[in-house]
């Protein structure tokens, strides 16, 4: 089998890798090993999910793998890209005087969330999807849109720049919880639908010997259960980072003190 890829995907990959390398060379700095690993992880995830055999099966109308691609694009690649971007690389871009106002607006948590929710829901809304999603060459661009809104979505949680502060831990938990609305709203109806909802997938048979209907239920469950389990892990990770942060907060006073005569101090931490 020849390892094939859509031109749009190749362009995105080239832009990502080329941009990363160009910045590193131009600024003459080298990312840390962890950042490099994270970034290459993101690239590998995109290459694995959007090119070659997986993509081939998607082109043969595998709905389940198509959903898998999308989850990689919004849940796996963006956090890794953000974790792999050093602050000195993001700073020149995001503090540029032309870009900054837009970036500040787009990365406001609610804006990012609504943008992602709207894009994700629209891409899966049958009338829209039937007209846009599987019409080459727009097809590849839908992937790019998902990657982009995914990056914006994760930015408030994983911002590489101190100038763009991350959400506080409790708010991160809230954000993750909020994220379940668009995911469930899209996944549940697909899973429970009584007929094949997208025209493109009506024709059968699909790869793995699945009927179009079974493929759709499988895809829906991958999205539904997949996002639930994934977000549960993210929630756990955030929670324990929060707990550790609070544990490490030095007490006011290491000395054993009687409870009563203490100076009034106020903490803003919650």
């Amino acid at each position: 089998m020849i390892w094939e890829a859509d031109p749009a995907t190749l362009i995105v990959l080239a832009l990502l890798v080329g941009g990363y390398a160009a910045f590193a060379l131009a600024l003459k700095r080298w990312p840390t090993v962890i950042q490099l690993i994270a970034f290459s992880g993101a690239i590998l995830a995109i290459v694995g999910a959007l090119t070659g055999p997986v993509d081939e099966l998607v082109k043969q109308r595998s709905f389940a793998l198509y959903i898998f691609q999308q989850l990689v694009l919004v849940f796996i690649a963006p956090p890794l890209i953000l974790a792999g971007t050093p602050d000195w690389m993001a700073r020149p871009v995001l503090t540029h005087r032309l870009i900054e106002p837009l970036a500040r607006f787009l990365t406001r948590p609610l804006v990012a969330y609504i943008l992602f929710g709207a894009a994700f829901a629209l891409v899966h809304f049958p009338p829209v999807c039937d007209r846009v999603c599987h019409v080459h060459p727009v097809y590849g661009d839908v992937d790019t849109v998902l990657l982009l809104v995914g990056l914006i979505l994760w930015f408030p949680l994983l911002s590489p720049l101190p100038e763009y502060p991350r959400l506080s831990y409790p708010m991160q938990v809230m954000y993750i919880f909020l994220l379940m609305i668009p995911m469930t709203a899209v996944a549940a109806p697909i899973t429970m639908a009584q007929s094949v909802v997208y025209i493109y997938y009506v024709e059968g048979p699909h790869p793995f010997g699945l009927s179009p209907m079974a493929d759709q239920v499988l895809g829906g469950i991958i999205m539904w259960v997949g996002q639930g389990v994934y977000l549960m892990f993210v929630f756990s990770a955030i929670f324990f980072r929060w707990a550790r942060r609070e544990d490490e907060t030095p007490p006011f006073n290491r000395r054993p003190v009687p409870l009563r005569p203490l100076p009034r101090q106020r903490s803003h931490a919650i």
């Binding site: 709207a118 809230m174 709203a185 109806p189 429970m192 009584q194 106020r266």
Partner: protein, 115 residues
Amino acid sequence: MSESAVEHVTAPAHHAAAESHHPTAVQYLVVAGILTVLTVCEIGVYYIPALQSVLVPLLLILSAGKFYLVAAYYMHLHFDSRIFSGLFFFPLTLAALILISLTLLLGFLAHHPGP
């Protein structure tokens, strides 16, 4: 109530930090203008036959925008302590999930028990 003055550290600065930065009247008027435009769009979308196929997502997006503007500016979540945003959006999420699942479980599955 003056005799009830408990010994306490007055923290005016910190009080101000939590409660200040309310929008100005001009900002309120701008928000009102946008809300009006969005509502006109909603009603417009409803009456344009060509848009019937995407009526639901368009209306949802427009009303989400209105929802956000009222919550963020009129209820000044945008300017207040983030805790209030949490107090609002957490239950809101739950409410949305309940709405989605109830409509699915009762409206849909009640008619067609399972694939």
